[in-house]
Symmetry: C2
């Protein structure tokens, strides 16, 4: 069994938030949206079907927990949950808070608007708030 | 408890394939992609968190079963799985077979290419093949 390594394109676009039992949770650097990414720490997984049924059940509950944290912290109007992987094959699930006045609404976020930078202070505050909520629900 | 009614925008774009224990499975009319949509028959559900944990576990396994059917029937290179719901609030999950030469690759499919019609014969054959595989795995 090979070890789990985070794809460098995922690590380059994000900052780690917390390690849940199955998934590493990342915060995307694009400040247009509260955009998290869950990466199950299962070496070689590309499709959801590459996880065991038990791992899939854990992933689903981690998606819900991260979505709840994003929603309660940001007051977003809708969550977008997606496992695409056309560009980065490593299995990863986007959990994105959407607002009716965000730059991509009502379309999906990918390729919709130029990425907006976030100050280090804002980023660290968001990460700390997400981590506290997610550690509480573990 | 109100009854489940399929949103008319979902029914207008699709043809029903099969009823799984939780979800109604639909085939999208856009022939650019083998594009299925799962709609859990839970009245009022908008977010995945609106389902019970037991329903979420069933939904996850139905997503995997539909993805396996799409992949084995079409030989697609990747699956895209997404619950967005920005335009149609009723909870629905896209399970889309993607090819490295499809008109949206490697981007997401939404808004990428003009919808392509499918002949009734091709549509019915695809629906029948999906139904047979999914009834076998129920």
């Amino acid at each position: 069994m090979t070890r789990f390594h985070l794809d460098p394109r995922l690590s380059g676009d994000t900052t780690p938030v917390v390690e849940l039992p199955l998934s590493l949770v990342l915060l995307h650097h694009d400040a247009n949206y509260p955009w998290t990414i869950l990466v199950p720490r299962v070496p070689g997984a590309v499709e959801i079907a590459d996880l065991s049924a038990a791992e899939r059940a854990v992933l689903t509950e981690e998606i819900v927990a991260v979505g709840d944290a994003v929603r309660s912290l940001t007051g977003c109007h809708k969550l977008n949950v997606a496992a695409l992987g056309n560009q980065v094959p490593q299995l990863h699930v986007h959990v994105i808070g959407r607002f009716r006045d965000d730059p991509a609404w009502p379309g999906p976020v990918w390729g919709a608007a130029a990425p907006k930078p976030r100050s280090l202070e804002t980023r660290d505050a968001l990460i700390e708030a997400l981590r506290q909520r997610l550690e509480r629900t573990e």
